[in-house]
């Protein structure tokens, strides 16, 4: 039995998502030093997740990229989350995907990307809040840390989201984006 016409992403798109996820993990491993730059990972995550979505042009690309990034990070032993490293990549991706589906019909693409990136930041900071509470921090301290993370991560995520469109438009200008979705017409 052949499975040539399987559903899901084309192999080329799946490979591109995988390469982006691997690059995200590799770049994150270079920038992971804790020097008061909390939230810098949101720059990379929002940029690569949204680039995948805009390039592949399909719902599910962000989640796939998050799963791939989590798997690659777990295999290579990268990231300071230990067993939770998968969730570190997957939780923001899933939140971004859900919000993307919800806001798909609203506003222009640029603002949609910003909203989706902020949703990813909230999920990323919420994961930190849960961890802080699990290790026994008080609600006040945990919430203060959560707010600070949302602020810092949000700034980085918005910058990452704003960098996506110019890059993807150039890719489209070079005829490298071949999707025939509605998204393609918006670029």
């Amino acid at each position: 039995m052949t499975t040539n016409h399987s559903r899901g992403f084309k192999l080329q798109d799946a490979l591109f998502i995988g390469f982006c996820a691997t690059l995200l993990v590799a770049l994150k491993s270079m920038l992971r030093l804790k020097l008061g730059l909390a939230g810098h990972s949101m720059l990379l995550m929002s940029f690569f997740y949204l680039t995948c979505y805009c390039t592949v042009g399909r719902i599910g690309a962000i989640t796939a990229c998050g799963v791939m990034a989590g798997a690659v990070a777990a295999i290579l032993g990268i990231g300071n989350g230990g067993p939770l490293i998968f969730m570190k990549f997957f939780a923001p991706a899933l939140a971004m995907e859900i919000v993307l589906v919800l806001v798909q019909r609203f506003t222009n693409l640029r603002w949609r990307l910003v909203i989706v990136a902020l949703a990813g930041t909230l999920a990323w900071a919420a994961k930190g809040l849960i961890e802080d509470l699990l290790v026994g921090m008080s609600w006040q301290v945990a919430l203060a840390r959560f707010s600070w993370k949302v602020l810092q991560g949000g700034i980085f995520a918005v910058v990452g989201a704003l960098l996506v469109l110019p890059v993807v438009r150039r890719l489209k200008a070079h005829d490298l984006v071949h999707s025939e979705s509605k998204l393609d017409q918006e670029l």
Partner: protein, 225 residues
């Protein structure tokens, strides 16, 4: 000479026993990497002792340590400079400890990649996720050195052309757009091309043609010689 369909289907490079060992190695690497970040400081010498054994084992398996050493030395220098600049001299030991933990966290991953074959990792992942995605993960990890090399070459070439993307210049967010245009954009073009080439190469080898997972034989059959 092309390899027949039957040999594609019947080839099983990784035995059940080696798959179990590979799965255990993956779990061990995950546990040790996690311990590097979660273990209290007084436990770190014990962890270092265990990972020293892994390091020796990896080197005995032809693992090249030069990349690991270069990465850690660069991390150490970078961290110490930043700690000195931001916190002054009284917190340098924290930076050294942070890099030590980074080293302890990456050694298990290095050991895993040097002792466990990518076919085995692919086979294990194939049992947990769809074959196509398992292939994507393994292909991505295999191509990581190539991608790193591409990033390095593009970055150096753009520096030579005068792009404002030196580490010091990148502290200014106004230069991030230039970094994105000069480095990330050409890199994405390379990744798109690489994805296309890899997909064509995989399909030429009947990837996805059969519902059952198939592997390219690790050794040539007698008919091919």
């Amino acid at each position: 000479m092309p390899i027949s369909h039957s040999s594609l289907l019947s080839s099983t490079p990784a035995s059940i026993r080696s798959l179990w060992l590979s799965a255990l190695a993956m779990l061990l690497a995950l546990a040790l990497s996690s311990a590097a970040f979660f273990a209290p400081t007084h436990f770190l010498p014990w962890l270092a002792g265990i990972e020293l054994v892994l390091l020796v084992h990896g080197m005995l398996n032809q693992g090249k340590i030069s990349g690991l050493v270069r990465y850690i030395v660069l991390q150490l220098l970078f961290t110490i400079v930043l700690y000195l600049a931001i916190h002054g001299g009284n917190k340098v030991s924290e930076g050294v400890l942070a890099v030590a933990r980074i080293l302890l966290a990456i050694v298990p991953g290095w050991w895993l990649t040097n002792t466990v074959s990518t076919e085995a990792i692919g086979a294990i992942l194939g049992k947990m996720m769809p074959n196509k995605w398992a292939f994507v993960v393994v292909a991505s990890i295999n191509l990581l050195p190539y991608m790193a090399n591409e990033v390095r070459e593009i970055y150096q070439l753009q520096r030579l052309r005068g792009a404002r993307i030196a580490p010091k210049q990148l502290l200014n967010p106004r230069n991030w757009g230039e970094f994105s245009y000069c480095v990330i954009f050409p890199l994405l073009i390379q990744l798109l091309k690489l994805a296309r080439q890899t997909a064509v190469a995989a399909k030429a080898r009947h990837f996805g043609y059969h519902a059952k997972r198939t592997l390219w034989p690790s050794q040539r059959s007698e008919h091919d010689n």
